[in-house]
């Protein structure tokens, strides 16, 4: 598993960990039921505080990506869990709302937004060679 922290990015470290673990899980790099490094060993390896890794893991658990088993460690949850889907939808809605707000501020018509979305989705499809 690859986790790289940037001190310059301005994003809180726990969020960076969260994002990278999520990405690894969603891309399949981290398999279901795979055990994550312990909170303390991760803190040691990344040279950050234990409280930061604890927070990252708690957030990941709240978002439904992992489960913390008392006394054993953290394990990757299957991604068909309802909680994950719910969170994903919520994130998408927030991003879309933000796009809509930006469009309104710049006086960009909804039809143009729709076109943009379709173009982007097509580009994704060709990228992944589906």
């Amino acid at each position: 598993m690859r986790i790289v922290i940037s001190n310059q990015s301005g994003k809180p470290i726990y969020e960076q960990i969260e994002d990278q673990v999520k990405a690894a899980i969603l891309s399949g790099q981290l398999k279901v039921n795979e055990q994550l490094p312990s909170i303390r060993s991760l803190a040691r390896d990344l040279r950050i505080s234990v409280i930061t890794t604890t927070r990252a893991y708690h957030e990941l658990e709240a978002a439904g990506f992992i489960t913390n088993v008392q006394g054993k460690g953290a394990y990757v949850l299957g991604q068909d869990s309802a909680l994950v889907r719910e969170n994903a939808l919520r994130d998408i809605e927030a991003s879309l709302n933000q796009a809509i707000d930006t469009a309104n501020m710049a006086h960009i018509a909804p039809s143009e937004l729709h076109t943009m979305l379709d173009t982007l989705l097509q580009a994704e499809e060709t990228d992944h060679g589906r």
Partner: protein, 288 residues
Amino acid sequence: MGADLLTVTNLNKQYAEFQLADVSFQLPAGYIMGFIGPNGAGKTTTIKAILDMIRPDTGQIELLGQTTPQGRESVRDQIGIVLDGPVYPDSWRAETVSRYVGPFFPSWDPDKFKELLQDFAIPTKPKYRDLSTGAKIKLQLAAAFAHHPRLLILDEPTSGLDPIARDELIGILQDFISDGQRSVLISTHDVLELAKVADYVTYLLAGKVTFTGSLDELLDRYVMIKGGPNDLTPAIQANIIGLQRSVVGFAGIWPTDQIATLPASIVQEPVDLESLMIAFGKGGRPHA
């Protein structure tokens, strides 16, 4: 999270020109607490009170479950201590420490001590007075670890260390707490290293606790704000902490829960520990 290894409650100590006032904080097992603040803030005084080198006027100190001076003195064999300044007789050599100090600790591990002397590259031939400042501190560290303590109390251990040694120390401290049962109280004004790995901080300013709690929480409470000269309204000027002004603008620290009162033109950034300490050091009022 286990029990607290150290609890200080309402510590008060009056000196002629300085007063420690109502100092309180707790250190749970398995974490690193940075004890921060400018010189003269009272960090060493507090540590001395914890080690019963001085007697506080009022207040309670619970150290590894012990609440009396005799109890705390007896439990020192589970505490690894590094103090500022020279502590061993000038004529001692590195291994003299093992010979004369070791016997006082039931859990003294002479092999571990020798191993640490090598790991820290402490020269064994010179007398204590001829060692460099860094080597003197590393010798104390070796002795502190050699009796397998549960709690480390370090007073300004990084002041004589070069960056490589400081970095090594951080790693060693992280290894130390990795079992979740042991803790570190490290007093320092070298904030850069600490800011990365400290779980908790207690921030002392002029004898008072300005903040105590998780480092994340402290950093969440404030934002760094920047703006142009025209953005500096009297309202902002009244409430801003650590104001820095120049021809092209200003910067300072602002409480997060009052962000709503700021105009959109003000740039907001997450704050880092060093900037926070500099800002408060300039005489900002501590925000409750």
